[in-house]
């Protein structure tokens, strides 16, 4: 149906004025925590994310421990993580860990091949653009050099989070998101979960089973 015809039907229906009038409710009060960082840690843990409070030295050790525990050497990652955690790339390279290119082609056959290559990588490293104290969420804006797969196809998702990036609420976080230059922003609140079978909580349905947040002080 043509746009004008479709919207014309909507306009005609609206002339009936059948909808309840807005009650002019007040804006939702802004959420403000005394200690947003502590709140973030508490909320993130409550949704089964693992949170480690680290500095730039201990962060590198924490990442090594995760790789060792997973007995893995391949990983997906975003570009530019060294800006958040200087020396990360070197450290990973010294340990002979291997970053897998996460670029996926447009051509259908090549795309399948890319997926076969990327889909088996169990570790991913990203850096949160912001994080939300109220819900323990991290916000990831994808884009150039920032593959979605690093937080999606892997079993363990490692998120670097400089402490200054924590905001209070979802509203605060969405306010600073740029949706013009990126096709996808995701707010991640803990590991993938379901309660579909007999309401039994199960982690790691389609997304990562482990979300490890490294809170860098």
């Amino acid at each position: 149906m043509e746009r004008d015809v479709f919207l014309g039907r909507v306009q005609a229906a609206l002339r009936g004025d059948a909808l309840p009038a807005p009650a002019a409710s007040a804006a939702v009060p802004q959420v403000r925590f005394g200690d947003a960082v502590a709140r973030f840690v508490e909320e993130a843990r409550a949704v089964d994310a693992e949170v480690s409070r680290v500095n730039s030295n201990t962060a590198l050790e924490a990442i090594s421990r995760i790789f060792e525990a997973a007995k893995e050497f391949r990983y997906l990652a975003w570009d530019g993580l060294d800006d958040v955690l200087p020396g990360l790339a070197d450290r990973l390279q010294q340990a002979s860990y291997q970053r897998v290119d996460a670029t996926v082609a447009t051509d259908p056959e090549q795309r399948r091949a890319d997926h076969a290559r990327i889909g088996v990588v169990p570790l991913g490293i990203t850096a949160a653009d912001t994080a939300i104290a109220a819900s323990g969420s991290v916000v990831l804006a994808h884009g150039n050099g920032r593959p979605r797969s690093a937080s999606l196809l892997v079993d363990t998702h490692i998120v670097l989070l400089p402490v200054g990036r924590i905001v209070h609420s979802l509203a605060d976080a969405l306010e600073v998101v740029d949706l013009e230059s990126t096709s996808n922003v995701v707010v991640v609140t803990g590991p993938s979960r379901t309660s579909d079978i007999e309401s039994a909580l199960t982690l790691g349905v389609h997304g990562p089973r482990h979300v490890h947040i490294l809170l860098i002080e």
């Binding site: 746009r3 005609a12 009936g16 009650a23 979802l170 013009e180 996808n184 922003v185 079978i197």
Partner: protein, 463 residues
């Protein structure tokens, strides 16, 4: 969409077959969890008020917001199609699938695609459709329909799922939910990565950003809109919210109302197909905006139902739903909200018995995050279908109304009933009423009329 039986017929069938206990326990526990979550959130009531206003502002200017949404989406590289009805939507999507040589589609659970029966249309066109929400995947494997808006397999227990997986997927029998989950994860992962098209619904479409928000806990929403080359988002035209700030309010309200979570695990915001230098994501985004009866609803006396954000809270709160389960409603939209949505989208004449299937207890309105006055809407639909009431009820009520508007006559009539009370009553109860009300007395006794009305007592009291 037709139903073979009336609602009453379907519930009789359901009672005979036995309604799974899981429905009652799951809805009740989620209802309690939601109450606890609301109690722990001091701003819940203010947030509900705001959410209702956002929804009603969006609908009152729906044409303008839809136009704005489409303009911005198109600017960001999305392709928009306006579908007047189910047939137009299905035709567009199947033609797109053919043109793109799509062999397999992965799908995210979505009410509107169930409503338009998109899977059937695609399968007719030779396309394989895989539902990826764990519950919806189980429903699809079993060849059934979902029984709850957010928990499609509420009607099945783990042993049902275990047998189904063993039979259909050729795996070893296990009834451990975690192991069943792993089986599904492995099976579906392969399908995600080899699908050509991903189809999702839309929880909210943000007018100012031309963006769509898609919420899941499992991650299938992200996978289906990332791995395949083509992403098709199907949205009921009422899914619009004006601004990003509005989106923040509604995402929180949706999560709290649906499951008692503060936010769902993945709030996925999509704005166009992947940009030139992005490493992954779909190369095409198509947004199909569906009317399919909504504009008629928008101009009707039940327009308020379009505020609904499909959280499922009213289903869990509803004592009728708890007792009969989702399938008894005979429609893709079950529960209290379904009793209004189904007749308003698919025809009140055919579905006139759904609005009657409520005690008007109001638990749904209480639970509704946007405070839809479902009892009032049900009464409105009952008014429109009053001709379907049985002859005895119609004549009975008409006679009662004539009496009740003539106080002297009313007094005489009630006095006459009191006389019968004197004749019949032994212990104050009647086991049955001859000719009358077998529907009542089959399982319930009737109190005998008192031998003296209150009215007569008062007069004699000499006040």
């Amino acid at each position: 969409m037709t139903s073979q039986l009336t609602f009453r017929g379907r519930i009789q069938e359901a009672f005979t077959a036995g309604v799974p206990v899981a429905i009652e326990t799951a809805t009740r526990s989620r209802y309690q969890r939601r109450l606890a979550a609301a109690a722990a959130f001091p701003e819940m009531e203010a947030t509900r008020d705001r959410a209702r206003d956002i929804r009603s502002e969006a609908l009152r200017n729906l044409d303008a917001y839809l136009g704005q949404f489409v303009d911005v989406t198109t600017e960001r590289g999305g392709v928009v199609f306006f579908a007047a009805d189910a047939a137009e939507a299905n035709e567009y999507i199947t033609e797109l699938a053919n043109a793109e040589n799509v062999r397999r589609v992965v799908k995210v659970k979505s009410m509107v695609t169930e409503e338009i029966r998109l899977n059937t249309a695609l399968e007719h066109a030779g396309v394989e459709v895989v539902e990826t929400d764990l519950g919806e995947f189980i429903v699809q494997l079993a060849g059934e329909t979902p029984s709850h808006i957010i928990s499609p397999v509420l009607h099945k227990n783990r042993y049902d799922v275990a047998e189904l997986f063993a039979a259909e997927l050729g795996v070893e029998y296990t009834d451990d939910p975690a192991e069943l989950n792993d089986i599904a994860r492995k099976h579906l992962r392969e399908r995600f990565l080899n699908a050509d098209m991903g189809i999702s619904g839309v929880n909210f479409a943000v007018a100012e950003d031309g963006a769509i928000a898609l919420v899941t806990n499992e991650g299938n929403g992200r996978l289906s809109t990332t791995a395949p080359r083509v992403h098709v988002a199907v949205m009921g035209m009422e899914r619009i919210v004006p601004t990003r700030a509005d989106l923040a309010v509604l995402l929180e309200v949706l999560a709290r109302s649906a499951t008692g979570q503060k936010l769902s695990v993945y709030s996925n915001i999509v704005s166009g197909p992947r940009r030139a230098h992005e490493p992954d994501g779909p190369d095409q985004l198509h947004v199909v905006i569906v009317d399919n009866g909504r504009s008629a609803t928008l101009g009707s006396s039940v327009a308020e139902i379009l505020l609904c954000i499909r959280c499922g809270a009213c289903l869990d709160a509803c004592p009728v739903y708890r007792h009969v389960g989702g399938h008894a409603y005979g429609s893709v939209y079950p529960g209290p909200i379904g009793k209004v949505v189904t007749p308003s989208l698919f025809g009140l004449e055919e579905w006139h018995d759904l609005p009657a299937a409520s005690s008007l207890c109001g638990a749904c309105q209480d639970a509704c995050p946007v405070r839809i006055d479902i009892p009032r809407l049900l009464v409105d639909l009952r008014e429109q279908t009053v001709g379907h009431a049985s002859r005895s009820i119609r004549t009975g009520l008409a006679a009662y109304s004539r009496l009740a508007t003539r106080p002297r006559l009313f007094r005489l009539a009630t006095r006459a009933v009191a006389l019968f009370g004197r004749l019949w009553s032994q212990d104050g109860w009647l086991r049955r009423l001859p000719f009358l009300l077998p529907a009542w007395t089959r399982r319930r006794e009737v109190p005998a009329p008192a031998t003296q009305t209150f009215n007569d007592w008062w007069r004699k009291r000499g006040a």
